[in-house]
Amino acid sequence: MSAILEDFTSIRGVSLIKIKEAKDEGQKVVGIYCTYCPQEMILAAGAIPVSLCGTSETPIADAETVLPRNLCPLIKSSYGFAVTDTCPFFHFSDLIIGETTCDGKKKMFEIMQEIKPVYVMQLPHLHQLDAALELWIKELRRLRSTLEEELDVEISDEKLWDAIRKVNHETMAVKAICDLNKKNPPVLNGLDLLTVTWSRNFSSDKEELFTMLNELQQELATNQESEANANKPRVLLTGCPVGLGSEKVIRLVEESGGLIVAMENCSGYKTLELQSDTELDDPIIALAQKYMEIPCSCMSPNPYRFELLERMLEEFQVDAVVDLTWQACHTYNIEAFTVGNLVRDKGLPYLHLESDYSSSDLETLKVRIEALLEMVV
């Protein structure tokens, strides 16, 4: 593993120390769970946005004393960390921001409210409607004033534009790294790819992160060591988000001889083409437009996800697709029908998996994954 890649594995640890120091100096921390949360607003408020999305099995048993067993593990894990106070990032958060994405999260946030202040944004789900964008713009304005009040700051347009530029740059830099995998052989395997795209959400310093991303991109672009990745079936992962801790499907694919070249989920490419339009007059509108475009399955209809997938299949020279649905995630589960048809129409093998964070189904997942890889000509 290259030294820069290694730096990404330690982002979480390093940033924890920095966050603690920043808190001691009076800086605020805002916890976020989802890609719909406009982190630019938090940055513009002078606070640190941190990702809290649960990716570990450990706190699920505790979560199940309150939440139903038959619920998405991501929601249970997120709540479990909160209720057991075992996630330092949650611990340091002064405020949590949630969105009405799926039913499970929305209702979980109500209960989480008992542990910490959770501010929930109303995310409209019919995104092609004018009224939806209008509502979302209003919601962003409401967030702005709430943050100003809660954190006792003023969020100027100037600060917003500044934050918007930073996040635009970061997104472009991450995309440039992911795009290196369009090459054959790909430069990064799925686990390394995830290490970069997931760990960056824990960085407390956007400038430093931007430098790291660029350095890594340059190093990888000239790297000749990707021979180990040659001739392996190129697999695209889509569906629910994964992170380190819930990466078992990536691991199984790579242990079985395949290689995850790209991820069209929130841990990967889903948001990487989206940029806020800096030519507009109002930064709130620029943000609203960008975030409304995110192709999450909670949107109906969700055409951009299929456009994006179709393009990724070509550009990343994909040989097979794994579509992962976490248990009880209805929106991704149902959308899998359309994803499956799209992939099969391209003549590519498609595997839909339903799983949770436990290791109880490793064997049954493995045989399916091996059979998928056998289907690659």
Partner: protein, 253 residues
């Protein structure tokens, strides 16, 4: 060319040896150790054929024990092996239904015998040999006796999909004096319905083959044909299909 195909299943371990034109087969209970089972099978096949271990050109292993035995030879999934065997036995077949001890699967193949899609039952036992085994126990029968004991004209429908609930459902039915033969018919129908739903999800195209140990049960055979509305081709020695496919893959490589 002398090759062995092993299918180390959850209940039974099956082996096929292809010795030029000849075929030998053997079956033993898997027991606790897939590794021991595979050794025993190989020795059995060598004995039947009168060949020596050194003469073996290749061993291909499939089935749930395939990983534990890895090292003995190459590994392939049951899905690929079934497709390979059926392409040999019935080239006209495009859909394969396999019901084994632990799982059931539906495989779509193209004209060259390549897998183009597949589905497997999820974590639960409904629609597998395991389901039938538990129900047979509750009825005081051996699973192999279910087929001959069914009476279709007395069929009562079993509504529970879940193994645990289905078990208490039939205990309740027995207590109310419902005929065993009718309950058995209902159980077969329930397996048939469950598996037929999986077949329709994958799509039917061309003829259908039915493989795996459960294909020997005439009741499930009947129920599945009824649910699908078409006839099924069942190979002789249906529980050896996976092992045969493994051996054929070995022959090709």
């Amino acid at each position: 060319m002398l090759v062995v195909g092993l299918d180390i299943g959850s209940v039974a371990a099956k082996g096929i040896m292809l010795d030029r034109g000849k075929m030998h087969r053997a079956m033993i209970p898997t027991g606790w150790s897939p590794r021991d089972a595979s050794e025993e099978l190989i020795n059995k096949l060598l004995k039947i054929s009168g060949c020596k271990r050194e003469q073996l050109d290749d061993i291909i292993v499939t089935g749930y024990g395939r990983i534990a035995v890895a090292g003995a030879g190459q590994v392939a999934t049951e899905i690929k092996c079934h497709a390979r065997a059926v392409a040999e036995l019935y080239p006209q077949v495009r859909t394969i239904v396999d019901i084994g001890g632990q799982d059931s699967k539906v495989i779509r193949v193209n004209g060259e015998g390549r897998v183009i899609d597949f589905a497997m039952n999820d974590k639960c036992a409904a629609g597998t040999g395991r389901f039938l085994q538990i129900m047979a126990n509750a009825l005081g029968l051996d699973v192999s006796e279910l087929g001959e004991n069914e009476n279709f004209s007395e069929m009562v429908s079993i509504n529970s999909m879940c193994t645990v609930f289905a078990e208490s459902e039939i205990i309740g039915l027995l207590a109310r004096g419902t005929s065993k033969a009718g309950i058995i018919a209902g159980l077969h129908q329930s397996v048939g319905r469950r598996v037929a739903a999986m077949v329709r999800r994958i799509g039917i195209d061309g003829e259908i083959a039915f493989t795996g140990g459960v294909a020997k049960n005439p009741g499930v055979h009947r129920a599945l044909e009824e649910e699908l509305g078409c006839q099924l081709l069942i190979p002789e020695g249906c529980q050896f299909t996976g092992a045969l496919g493994a051996a054929l893959l070995g022959q090709n490589s």
